[in-house]
Chain length 182, copies 2
DNA sequence: GAATTCACTCTACAACCGTGGAGCGAACAG
DNA sequence: CTGTTCGCTCCACGGTTGTAGAGTGAATTC
């Protein structure tokens, strides 16, 4: 038997439900397109409650796009496979919300640039080439394009396909752009 | 001396000025973010006039993102250089408006998918490989990612750089993914 | 010169937005 | 059992949006 949840537990649970609803709504419509009322409806809650929990729409968005801890983990993906697999299969809700908003919200654009820059830096460190920074930036940008085309534009050749088939071609291609040192 | 412009000519001129303002505004803020009032202000005109010319916001957007004829020209760019050069230097206003809106407007997403599909088909025809369609889709998606990272996210390694430097690396890399037949 | 067209502005409306404050009712502390 | 906390809902406000219709004055036509 479960013990009856306490008041605090219930509050935390609705807060989490609101956050999920917000990520879904931001992911579907972007920051500007999503509305507090829409998020509240999806969470089965009054619009005011959303703001009582997260202060403002902007505040809610900042929490909603905060990447899951295991994605910002310090252990650099030595193989691109990790990043690729994550990007090619289902997107994490926070990532999806950030991607959806990055072209219309300066805040989201900043967050995305920062994220891409980190990934590019990680990658550049694995190479000894003089133009490693540029090549790393090109690489992460290409992954970004693939992600958008597959998950947001539904380009048939990419969205219909098994992730493994894409990875099989992409990985050696990426390695050709920025060969690992040694 | 110029002859005084007729009434029709003046009307056409303001219509064109409104369209330019709309492309700029859509390009800066996206379909949802841009407002009729903002477009009117930029064109130095009353908001109502915008609708009298283009019917509705949606109608205006459709005209605003219509690609310039020389970009849809039937002559396939045999070399990617053309596409790349266009994408790496200044973006045409219509393209910029479409790109900015593609993640938040289903109509824009459809138009962009269609455009990418056409380009991918053109490219795939230059190859005899069995997986040419997939590789072509990957290629145009990568260009898309590069364009976004450079022009919309301002990823420093890409946006600060001379287009030629990027092309010098990108072109052979792209050729490696989808080598031209023969 | 008078009559008419029409490019353009003014005003208004209904819908929607983010947000704040008052109030209710059930879970808590004593 | 009584008093209090507080998670939650209701209602309201000011502002912005897309859009429609009436009005105005100058260019056009006869």
């Amino acid at each position: 038997m479960e013990s009856a949840p306490s008041r605090d537990e219930r509050r935390a649970a609705t807060a989490a439900r609101i956050l999920e609803a917000a990520q879904a709504e931001f992911g579907d419509r972007g920051v500007e397109g999503a509305t507090i009322r829409g998020i509240a409806r999806r969470a089965g809650v009054d619009p005011s409650l959303v703001l009582q929990h997260y202060g403002s729409k902007k505040g809610l968005f900042e929490v909603a796009v905060r990447p899951e801890p295991d994605l910002t983990a310090a252990d650099v993906p030595r193989h691109l496979g990790e990043v690729l697999e994550i990007r090619m299969r289902e997107l994490p809700p926070a990532t999806r919300a950030l991607l959806r908003s990055m072209l219309t919200s300066p805040d989201a654009a900043d967050a995305m640039r920062e994220y891409l820059q980190e990934r590019a830096d990680d990658l550049a460190r694995t190479s000894a080439r003089a133009d490693a920074d540029l090549r790393a930036a090109m690489l992460v940008s290409s992954i970004l394009g693939l992600t958008i085309a597959r998950h947001f534009l539904d380009l048939p050749a990419l969205s219909d396909l098994d992730p493994a088939a894409i990875e099989a071609i992409a990985e050696p291609w990426y390695a050709a752009l920025l060969p690992p040192a040694g």
